[in-house]
């Protein structure tokens, strides 16, 4: 009923994080870090200085990024060293190269379990952080596989591992998922809508919020383009709200009863389609999972109400409550046709 496609597109424009080549500030931050890494590695006096390749990864590379609500932009970079994992039994060693090259660059540089993180602040507030994932390159491993260096400095030995990770190939999988470029655009819009919903509806700390890559992979599995082609003039009209309704419905129907933490409970499992192939939502507790499901159901109900609503203004108000302030609510006069004035006669009734 209410056609809110133009508001959906406006919302998308408001939340879309431009890619590196379109975003000068973030591109500059990334370049500065990479230069610093390059000079830092040389200063470490390793013999020979390790060679590496820089891989773009994360939502920038997949073109699925949304502007953060808390202002803390995150930049993902992969540093793929031309080393064999077998020569470095301790995966912390190459991670420390990266850490040592960058430490002191900003107030805070930290080794995290999956990456090394450089934090930037602007007047005391977090402004950016750059996550550098450290890999052992496939050409240097006898099995031809890529490995991610995992673990922190004081982790138990069994948590310091080289984990097979074909994360870099995920970018290609996502890029080539749809042949039709307009379908691919709708695919990325749907991912961004749900990621912003997630940022708006969940606390960003801890594991309460479903992680963005999980939403992206869920869309890779369950999203289908939604459009109508007019056979007379061959124009195609995309319906993002309907596409989103079908997608959210599909996610909800994939919550399954499983035995977890000693009880039977409904959980959503989304497996990474590349190595290591793990369940992306595994860190969420059962109760966090339940909240996730309830909020998704509430989103689904609001979308259905908005679809049935005749008045575009009211439909957008319902969506604004789910997606936050960036979802535009049109003025009444912008929802209606302009018509010429009426002149009425008197009338009698009985």
């Amino acid at each position: 009923m209410a056609d809110v496609q133009s508001q959906m597109i406006k919302f998308h424009e408001a939340i879309k994080l431009k890619r590196f080549d379109e975003n000068e500030t973030l591109r500059d931050k990334r370049e500065i870090i990479l230069k610093r890494l390059n000079s830092g590695l040389k200063k470490l006096d390793l013999d020979p200085t390790p060679k590496y390749e820089v891989i773009d990864q994360g939502s920038y590379a997949m073109d699925t990024g949304v502007k953060p609500l808390n202002g803390d932009y995150d930049i993902d970079v992969g540093i793929s060293f031309k080393i064999s994992k077998d020569d470095y039994p301790d995966p912390l060693e190459p991670k420390k190269w990266v850490y040592d090259s960058l430490v002191g660059h900003t107030k805070k540089v930290e080794i995290q379990r999956p990456c090394v993180t450089v934090y930037y602040q602007i007047s005391g507030e977090p402004a950016y952080h750059v996550d550098l994932a450290v890999y052992s390159d496939k050409d240097n491993n006898s099995d031809g596989k890529i490995y991610l260096a995992k673990g922190k400095e004081h982790s138990h030995k069994e948590n310091k591992i080289w984990e097979e990770s074909n994360y870099p190939s995920l970018i290609n999988l996502m890029k080539n998922h749809f042949q039709d470029s307009e379908d691919a655009k709708q695919f990325r819009r749907i991912i961004r809508y749900l990621k912003r919903w997630k940022d708006f509806k969940f606390q960003s700390k801890g594991n309460a919020a479903p992680i963005g890559i999980g939403i992206t992979i869920a869309a890779y599995k369950w999203f289908a383009p939604n459009k109508v082609t007019n056979p007379f003039d061959n124009t195609t009209k995309y319906n993002d709200l309907e596409a989103l309704q079908h997608f959210v419905g599909a996610v909800l129907s994939n919550f399954q009863m499983v035995y977890s933490e000693g009880v039977w409970t409904k959980r959503l499992e989304v497996l990474l389609p590349v190595a290591p192939g793990n369940d992306i939502f595994t860190k969420m507790t059962n109760s966090q999972m339940t909240v996730f499901q309830e909020r998704l159901q509430s989103l689904f109900d609001s979308i259905q109400k908005a679809q049935k609503e005749v008045d575009p203004k009211e439909a957008c108000t319902l969506l604004n409550q789910q997606f936050g302030c960036d979802f535009p609510i049109p003025d009444e006069k912008d929802t209606a046709q302009k018509r010429s004035p009426a002149i009425v006669s008197s009338s009698a009734s009985a």
Binding site: V310, R339, P341, A342, V344, S345, S346, S347, S349, A350
Partner: protein, 167 residues
């Protein structure tokens, strides 16, 4: 009290907003002291659709003559409201038809009503193909559509107040 939605002859929807519905319901003739009331329906033709929303109504005004069984709506005060809303909304709030009350549970249009509706369809100046007419009964309201393309009047919906309350 929520809004209600009916389907028009052309398949589009017509929604009566909560605001318009609440104002009309104040005039339900559910006791002997309340006289017949009425006014005009005003609202939007929604972009890229066949849908219509009745956003506003006018209520009895100076010059109208109200009786227990009969209502005469004078032209000028209601026309003034039509003109003002049309102007303020940049031409998007338009005249859509009329409403009035009946002191009966399920309203049925009288011969006078039907003659008046047909007269309005033929003599009022308005930018559209149809006009809509609401009668507020005691237990339900009903809505009829009169189209320039189709000379007969057609009942397009009925809504019981008790059902709407629960929405």
């Amino acid at each position: 009290m929520s809004s209600i939605v009916f389907t028009k002859i052309d398949g589009g929807k017509i929604k009566i907003s909560k605001k318009a519905l609440t104002s009309m319901k104040k005039f339900i003739q559910d006791n002997d002291c309340k006289k017949e009331a009425g006014g005009v329906l005003l609202g939007r033709y929604i972009l890229n659709s066949l849908d219509i929303i009745i956003d506003e109504i006018t209520i009895p005004m100076w010059g109208d003559r109200r009786k227990w069984f009969g209502f005469f709506r004078s032209r000028r005060p209601h026309q003034k409201v039509i003109d003002r809303l049309w102007k303020e909304s940049e031409g998007t709030i338009n005249y859509l038809g009329e409403w009035h009350t009946h002191p009966e549970n399920t309203p049925i249009p009288s011969d006078i009503d039907i003659r008046s509706w047909k007269h309005k369809l033929n003599h009022d100046v308005f930018d559209g193909d149809s006009l809509w007419f609401v009668i507020i009964g005691i237990k339900s309201l009903r809505i009829w559509e009169l189209s320039r393309n189709n000379l007969s009047y057609q009942l397009i919906g009925e809504s019981y107040y008790s059902e709407v309350e629960n929405v």
